[in-house]
Each structure stands twice: as structure tokens, then as C-alpha cells.
């Protein structure tokens, strides 16, 4: 035994020593042979959601266009070396990467303060031949999040996505699950939550939907939480399955629905107060004994006081009734058994697959998918739509990102002008240049040229045409590009271009100095309640463990005492 072990050991140690020489410093085979003659830009790209394909393609075009450029002495042309990898912004000082594309983890303000990333003012404000700069194109609301304490730009906006719901349009069409315009066009459905008129047939007139205007994409969709609740009861009765599918392996996805509903119910004007600390907010000041909805005795109506938000009472912006309603709705979905697939083996793409395969063979229809607006890409990569085609022979699948209810009870009255949907950007994604290389002006120059190239009008369009995901800049797809997108992505594109979006960032100095505490994102502490010292990653998990929505709501507000400290920290 000893002999065997020591024999193997010796062999292995010898191999180990040779390995240092042979395996130690190989470089990848994909790198071009004439690399030594080119300037190399190392790019690290967050791989989730939209992947890296867009970057590889853009890099090829960039390399081709600049193949005769001398960025460094003695070198001609440029090579973009892309690594799809989760960036770690806290180790930039030892990172090998020049340019980083990150989602949600990079805090631009802090990185700028710590001197980890370089100033991009020249790049952002430089006018092109048409007299327009990148800054001119960046949406005003998205600009503050790109700046450091000195007011300079340190990053470019990468992409945006919106947490919320998608609905199964094919099965909505088949089952006539749209709300009717009036009783004439409708058939009455009744359950413990109330009654509602759904359209009789595909040709019946639908209600105006959350945007209050007839003839738009959201017609027939529930405009209030109450309508959504009654409809969900009806769908569950019909399908035998909870209408809301959500991944069980990442329960924080349930926060997507809270954020989506919060933004929608608050409306864009009120929502801004959470970062700007001004404007008026419907603040919850207590709770009555009255039930909020029929048939549900565990959600109570809040007492609401319209409050003017200032720097002095900024914490009240989080006590908004909209956030309470969104939280309560999660408790309802949990307690009424409206969630499906919430098992740990169902991944986010697994939930998407169940949603897509709804109604196929013996898979029950899942009316709604809780996910980010980008989910379609993931399902394409995963082969979910291909599988659907094999099983059904059908090549298209009608699914839509959904306009969410804007009021709690009743229905929205119709009007001539549509109200823009209110969304919250959860991408919080940026591109920036690592300051570790700031003394290499030649490399930095190449990096800036590459970024300038990527943020040109033509490349912005290419980006969206390929990924179906938008950047918060002003540009429009060409018709051919638009038509090449799948229907779902066409609608998301239109939806995002016609909505009011809350971007991370504010001119308010209190916000700037307390970004970690005040951030609204599924992973931030406002969305991760701590109850009895237990940290939960979502409102749902706390509710499932026995907390009430009132308890969760109160556990995620900022107390007056803490706010005093926060307001002093500016």
C-alpha cells in the first residue's frame, strides 16, 4: 500500500514539475498570429442576459475599420481581446482588463472617487460632424448615474432592462382572457375576489387597459390589481395551475414583480422621489381594519397621507403606498397558491420553458412569467423555442412583455391621450475604462476610440438589432433592423422607447453619498428585508417564512433616526 502510494506520488510530483513548464503559460489558440504587431484592448464583459455575441461582432467591425491605425509606436491595427466573465470592480487595480462592461455591481460614483476608473468627459462631450455628442444622446434621466463627485462623466450607459411580467398572448387569445370594453362585449365571470367582464370572442371590443387609451397594445389587460386578481382566480380555475410562473432556484426573481408593480402603481412622477427626495408621495401612515380586496382577509387597507418629500423626510419616499400594494400582492400570490413552478430545480430558463410550453401536451398554461424584459434572449440561447417547434410544429410563439396595473381597485377610465408606463431600470449597466492603465495614454486612446465607435449611432442600432435590448440613448432602429427582431422584442423596443424610466442616479447629494443604502434593485437592501435579524433575499422569501406584507414593508423602510444620519452624510 505504502509502495503504491509513494510510487504514484513520485510520478505525480515529477509530472507536476514538468507541468509548470509545459502547461503554465500557454496562450489561447483563438488569438491571431500577428498579435505582437497590433494594439490589444482587453475587454471584460458581463456574460448574463444578453451574452457577448454583440461585442464580438462589433469588435470585428472595429478591427476592420481601424486596421491601419497606429495606436502604439511600431504597431498597426488593433485587436479586441474579449473575456466573457463576471467583472469584479473591487479588484480593478490588479485587473488585466482595460474596458469593462458590467451590470449592476459597479458603483460608478465610488469607483470614480477611489480613482479606479478614468474620466471620460472628452469622449462624452466631443461633437461629431453633425454637431451631436454622446452626451446629447444619453437620456437626461440616465446621465447622473454616470458621474463622479466632480460632476464629470466616468462611464457610459450599457443597457437597460425592466423587471415585471410577460403574458402568454397566444393563450390569452384562445381563451379570451381580455377584459371587455363594456357589458355588451363581455361575459361575466365571478369568484371570491369579485366579478369582471371578459371579452366574449376575439372580435369583441376590449377595455382601454392601463394606459387609458383605446386601440393600443395594452387593450384588455388588467388596469388594477383587483382586476388582475379576479382574472388570476379565473385562470387558475380553468388551468388548475398557479397563473404566475417564476423560477424556484432563484427566488429573488419574485422581487422583479414587486419592483414592476411598485413603479407602475406609483407612476413615474411619484417614483422619482425615491432618488431625488422631492415631489409628493402617497405615504402609508397606518393601517385600517378594512380588507383591501374581496375574499382576502389578511391584507388591510392602509391609511394614506399625501406628503411633500424633501431632504428632511426623504425616507418617507420608501413608505409609499405603491410599494405596500406591490408587497401585499406578493403575499396574495403566495397565500392564494397563484405561483407555480416555485421549486428549487426550476431555473429561470426552466420557468421560461414552462411558460413557452404552456398548453402543449399535458403542460398546463402559465398565463404570466415573472422575469426581466430580456428573458426572450435567454430562451432562444437555451433552445426553448426550438423545442417548442419540435413538439408543436409551430414556428412562432406569441408572448408579450406586459403593461402592469396602474391602480389598486376598480378600473382606469378611458381617455384620449395614453399615459406612459412607468418602469424601473434594473440593468444599472455601464461601460468604463480601468484607471490602472491611465499612464498608458496610447492604450487609453485606443480604448476611447473603441468606446466612441460602439456608441456611434450605427453601432447603437446594431446593438439593439442583435440583442433586442435597448441602451438609454436616443437612437431609432432602421425598418429592416426592426423587422428582423422577433415580435416580442419589437414590442419591448417600442415599450421601452415610450415609457418613463427611473434610472439609478440623482443630482441630490444625499443620494450620491448613500447609494448602497438607497439603491432600488432586486439585490439591494431595500429589496432584501431583514426581519428578526434574518436577511431575506426577497420579499417573497420573508413572507413565505411567516412575515406579513405589513411586516416586510415596515422592515424595509428607513427609520427617521437612520435617515438623520444618512442626510448628515453628504
Amino acid at each position: 500500500m505504502k509502495k503504491i502510494l509513494s510510487g504514484i506520488l513520485c510520478a505525480v510530483l515529477v509530472l507536476g514539475i514538468t507541468a509548470c513548464g509545459s502547461l503554465g503559460n500557454n496562450s489561447g489558440p483563438s488569438v491571431p498570429a500577428d498579435l505582437d504587431t497590433k494594439t490589444v484592448i482587453k475587454v471584460q464583459n458581463f456574460p448574463g442576459g444578453i451574452g457577448s455575441n454583440w461585442l464580438y461582432k462589433a469588435a470585428e467591425r472595429f478591427q476592420e475599420q481601424y486596421k491601419n491605425e497606429h495606436f502604439e509606436d511600431g504597431k498597426t491595427g488593433v485587436y479586441v481581446d474579449i473575456t466573457p466573465e463576471q467583472p469584479n470592480s473591487s479588484t480593478l487595480s490588479t485587473s488585466a482588463y482595460h474596458i469593462i462592461f458590467d451590470e449592476r455591481y459597479s458603483n460608478i460614483y465610488e469607483l470614480a472617487q477611489s480613482g479606479s476608473i478614468i474620466k471620460l468627459d472628452d469622449l462624452v462631450t466631443e461633437k461629431d460632424t453633425a454637431g451631436r455628442s454622446i452626451e446629447d444622446c444619453i437620456y437626461v434621466a440616465a446621465r447622473e448615474g454616470l458621474k463622479g463627485a466632480d460632476g464629470s462623466y466616468y462611464a457610459l450607459p450599457h443597457y437597460e432592462w425592466f423587471p415585471g411580467l410577460s403574458y402568454d398572448k397566444d393563450n390569452f387569445d384562445i381563451n379570451n382572457w381580455y377584459i371587455a370594453k363594456d357589458t355588451e362585449n363581455g361575459r361575466l365571470i365571478e369568484n371570491e375576489y369579485g366579478s369582471l367582464y371578459l371579452v366574449k370572442s376575439a372580435s369583441s371590443d376590449k377595455s382601454c387597459g392601463p394606459d387609458s387609451k383605446y386601440g393600443t397594445d395594452d387593450d384588455g389587460l388588467p388596469s388594477s390589481l383587483e382586476e388582475l386578481l379576479i382574472l388570476s382566480g379565473e385562470i387558475k380555475k380553468k388551468t388548475g395551475t398557479g397563473p404566475f410562473t417564476v423560477t424556484g432556484s432563484n427566488l429573488y426573481y419574485t422581487n422583479y414583480l414587486v419592483e414592476g408593480l411598485w413603479a407602475s402603481l406609483a407612476g413615474s412622477e411619484e417614483l422619482k422621489a425615491v432618488y431625488d427626495f422631492k415631489g409628493s408621495v402617497d405615504v402609508v401612515t397606518g393601517f385600517t381594519d378594512e380588507n383591501l380586496f374581496n375574499g382576502i382577509d389578511y391584507i388591510k387597507k392602509p391609511v394614506i397621507t399625501k406628503t411633500e418629500i424633501t431632504d428632511k423626510n426623504g425616507n418617507l419616499a420608501l413608505k409609499s403606498a405603491a410599494r405596500y400594494y406591490a408587497t401585499a400582492f406578493i403575499e396574495i400570490l403566495h397565500k392564494e397558491g397563484f405561483f407555480s413552478d416555485i421549486a428549487s430545480s426550476v431555473s429561470h430558463t426552466g420557468a421560461q420553458k414552462n411558460f413557452i410550453n404552456g398548453g402543449v401536451r399535458n403542460n398546463p398554461v402559465r398565463a404570466f412569467l415573472v422575469d426581466g424584459s430580456y428573458w426572450y434572449n435567454e430562451s432562444v440561447d437555451q433552445g426553448n423555442f426550438k423545442d417548442y417547434t419540435i413538439m408543436t410544429g409551430k414556428t412562432t410563439r406569441g408572448v408579450r412583455f406586459m403593461a402592469l396595473p396602474v391602480t389598486v381597485t376598480g378600473a382606469v377610465a378611458s381617455s384620449e391621450t395614453a399615459t406612459k408606463p412607468s418602469l424601473i431600470d434594473s440593468g444599472i449597466a455601464y461601460a468604463y475604462i480601468n484607471a490602472r492603465y491611465s499612464d498608458r495614454t496610447d492604450i487609453i486612446n485606443a480604448c476611447k476610440t473603441f468606446l466612441k465607435f460602439l456608441y456611434s449611432d450605427a453601432e447603437l442600432k446594431e446593438f439593439t438589432a442583435l440583442t433586442g435590448v435597448t441602451r438609454p440613448l436616443d437612437y431609432s432602429l432602421e425598418d429592416a433592423q426592426y423587422n428582423s427582431l422577433p415580435e416580442y422584442q419589437q414590442k419591448v423596443y417600442e415599450f421601452s422607447r415610450n415609457s418613463d424610466i427611473l434610472y439609478f442616479g440623482s443630482v441630490n447629494p444625499i443620494f450620491k453619498n448613500n447609494q448602497q443604502t438607497l439603491k432600488i434593485h432586486f439585490s439591494s437592501q431595500i429589496m432584501n428585508p431583514a426581519i428578526n435579524n434574518n436577511q431575506y433575499k426577497s420579499y417573497y422569501e420573508a413572507i413565505k417564512a411567516g412575515a406579513t406584507s405589513q411586516g416586510v414593508f415596515e422592515a424595509t423602510v428607513i427609520t427617521d433616526d437612520v435617515w438623520k444620519n444618512i442626510a448628515a452624510n453628504k
Binding site: 500500500m1 504514484i8 510530483l13 507536476g16 502547461l23 473575456t83 466573457p84 430545480s345 431555473s347 419540435i390
Partner: protein, 327 residues
């Protein structure tokens, strides 16, 4: 008379106790076998089959299907072509790179690792570290137990203190040190770093050597044996069974270790690190994320240790039951 009766009674009780213990052990063994068997079976299913048919055998035929090979509900490809395994091995391609400063000089390491490269890394990493971490604590424990200097007491207390100190956030200074010494992300650096004597096995060896009488060494020294000979000819061989056990334990620990690779050896990925990377979303293809493929990757990682263990367990465990200081 009474004594004999008592004796009989206790014999019956004894037997019952042994039977209960045996039954517990059978239940335990079954639980382990069933879990692994379920894993094996699941790794041969398609994702849909896994979700629809959690406990059954893989489904390969259904009159409803257009195409029994390509239908997403069918496990035909995953069962007969071992598609999950093939995919995992094919995708086991891991380009790793890291860049850091040694003083003012910038160093970049890049490696391209296929499945077999990572297998090799796993073997070297586990064998080398296992050996170092078994022998160093044994030697140091021997020194502390048998050489009763004040410094030995200090070392002993140091080990206890180190074990109880839950130090957080020492990584930055540790990494800087390794880089400046040129040890970072290298095999020899890894082994030097692992030459640590602190930890629970020091205490195990210490207790062992304390329990071995000094008479051996006294006799040997009278015979003229050197200190070195006393240690390596008499005492260390006495502890060889424990050293073997510790080696095995550390071998397995390092075979399964992934977090230290991430920290200290980023361009020497092992198989365990790859499984971790799969979960952490590093450079992976999205079609890895189905349940059966995750399980298949696990089965591949488990196989070598399982085979090694099944081959060697008789020797390792048999030698351990032969008895310690008789010889």
C-alpha cells in the same frame, strides 16, 4: 447462579444493541447508495424527462411524439448517446487568464484547459497538497510532543490559537505577499503555501505521539541512533497509519476544493473548480444549465475519487485496522 443469569441477560441486550446498530448502518448505506443511484439515473435523462418523470427510468418512447430521438421530452439521446456527458466533456474547455504586479513588473498568465488538463491539475493539486499537509503536521507534532522545550509549548498553544481565530479579510495582504515573492499562481508557490503545520491534524498527531512511550527513543539512542533516525525510523512509521489517513483526507479535500483555486491558482483550474464555475456563471455555455447536465458534471467529478477509493479502500482501511504500535 445469579451472575450467570445476568450474564445471559446482558448477552441478549448486547445482541439487540448490535442488531440495532447494524440496522442503522444498513439504512445509512442504503441512503448513500440510493442518492448516488438517483443521480446516475437522472444524469441520463433529458431536462423535460427529468422534470416530468423524477423517479422513473429514462423515457424513450411515446406515441404522441413526432420524433422519438429529437423530441425534447425524450431521453433517447441522453441515454444512448450519453449526450449530457459528451456535452460536459466537450464543454470542459476553460480558458483562464490572470494579470498582476510583481513589484512594478506586470505579469500575465494565460492557460487553455481542456477536460484532461483540468483532470491533470486536479491530480497534482490533490496529491501534492495531500502529501505536504500530512507529513508536515506529523513531523511538527512529533517535535512538540517529544522535545519538551518551552518553545514546543508555545507551538502547541499557537496551533490552538490559530484554530480558534476566525480571521476575516486577510486575503489582500496574503495575495500581495504571494505576488511579490513570485509564488502566486504557480505550483511551487502553492506547495510552499501549503507547508503549514497548524490545524486539527497537528493535534491528532500530537495526542498520538504523546501516547507513545519514550522508551523506544531512549533505547534507540542508547544503541547510538541519531535524532533523525529516531524520528524517521521509529516514530514516523508508527504514525504511518494516521499519516495515511490524513493524506487521504487531505487528498480528497483538495480534489474537491475550488475556493482556494479561485484565490491562489486562477490559471490552474481543477475539475472541482470547473463545477463551481458552472454554477457561478463563468464563461459557460448556457446549455449547461439543465438539471441533468449539472448532475452529469457532478458524476464525472465523482468518478475518479470513487474509483480510486474503491481500488484502495481495502489497503487504506485494512491497514488502519491492523493495529498501531504492535510491531
Amino acid at each position: 447462579m445469579k451472575k450467570v443469569e445476568n450474564r445471559k441477560k446482558s448477552n441478549v441486550a448486547e445482541k439487540i444493541a448490535v442488531i440495532i446498530l447494524g440496522a442503522l448502518l444498513i439504512a445509512y448505506s442504503l441512503s448513500i447508495i440510493l442518492v448516488l443511484l438517483w443521480g446516475l439515473l437522472s444524469s441520463l435523462k433529458s431536462e423535460n424527462d427529468f422534470m416530468n418523470n423524477l423517479l422513473g427510468l429514462p423515457t424513450i418512447n411515446n406515441p404522441e411524439w413526432f420524433d422519438r430521438i429529437n423530441d425534447p421530452d425524450s431521453s433517447y439521446k441522453t441515454l444512448f448517446w450519453l449526450e449530457n456527458y459528451v456535452l460536459v466533456i466537450r464543454r470542459f474547455n476553460f480558458p483562464a487568464s490572470t494579470s498582476f504586479f510583481v513589484g512594478n513588473r506586470e505579469v500575465t498568465h494565460t492557460t487553455e484547459n481542456n477536460f484532461f488538463g483540468m483532470l491533470f491539475n486536479s491530480v497534482v493539486y490533490a496529491f501534492g497538497n495531500g502529501f505536504v499537509q500530512a507529513i508536515i503536521p506529523a513531523i511538527m507534532a512529533y517535535m512538540c510532543a517529544k522535545y519538551r522545550y518551552k518553545f514546543s509549548k508555545v507551538l502547541y498553544i499557537t496551533v490552538i490559537v490559530v484554530m480558534t481565530l476566525p480571521i476575516v479579510g486577510a486575503y489582500p495582504s496574503e495575495l500581495t505577499l504571494l505576488r511579490n515573492l513570485g509564488l502566486y499562481d504557480t505550483w511551487y508557490g502553492n506547495f510552499i503555501q501549503r507547508c503549514s503545520f497548524t490545524g486539527m491534524y497537528f493535534l491528532v498527531f500530537y495526542e498520538f505521539f504523546k501516547g507513545v512511550p519514550d522508551t523506544y527513543s531512549e533505547a534507540a539512542e542508547i544503541d547510538g541512533a541519531s535524532q533523525f533516525a529516531v524520528m524517521f525510523r521509529i516514530y514516523i512509521p508508527l504514525a504511518s497509519k494516521i499519516i495515511g489517513s490524513v493524506f487521504l483526507i487531505r487528498f480528497i479535500f483538495f480534489w474537491n476544493d475550488f475556493s482556494s483555486i479561485e484565490l491562489y491558482m486562477p490559471t490552474h483550474p481543477t475539475l472541482a473548480y470547473f463545477i463551481y464555475a458552472l454554477g457561478a456563471g463563468k464563461k459557460i455555455s448556457s446549455d449547461m444549465t439543465t438539471n441533468p447536465r449539472k448532475i452529469a458534471a457532478c458524476m464525472i467529478l465523482a468518478l475518479p475519487t470513487l474509483i480510486l477509493f474503491l481500488l484502495l479502500h481495502n489497503k487504506v482501511m485494512g491497514s488502519m485496522t491492523l493495529g498501531g504500535i504492535k510491531g
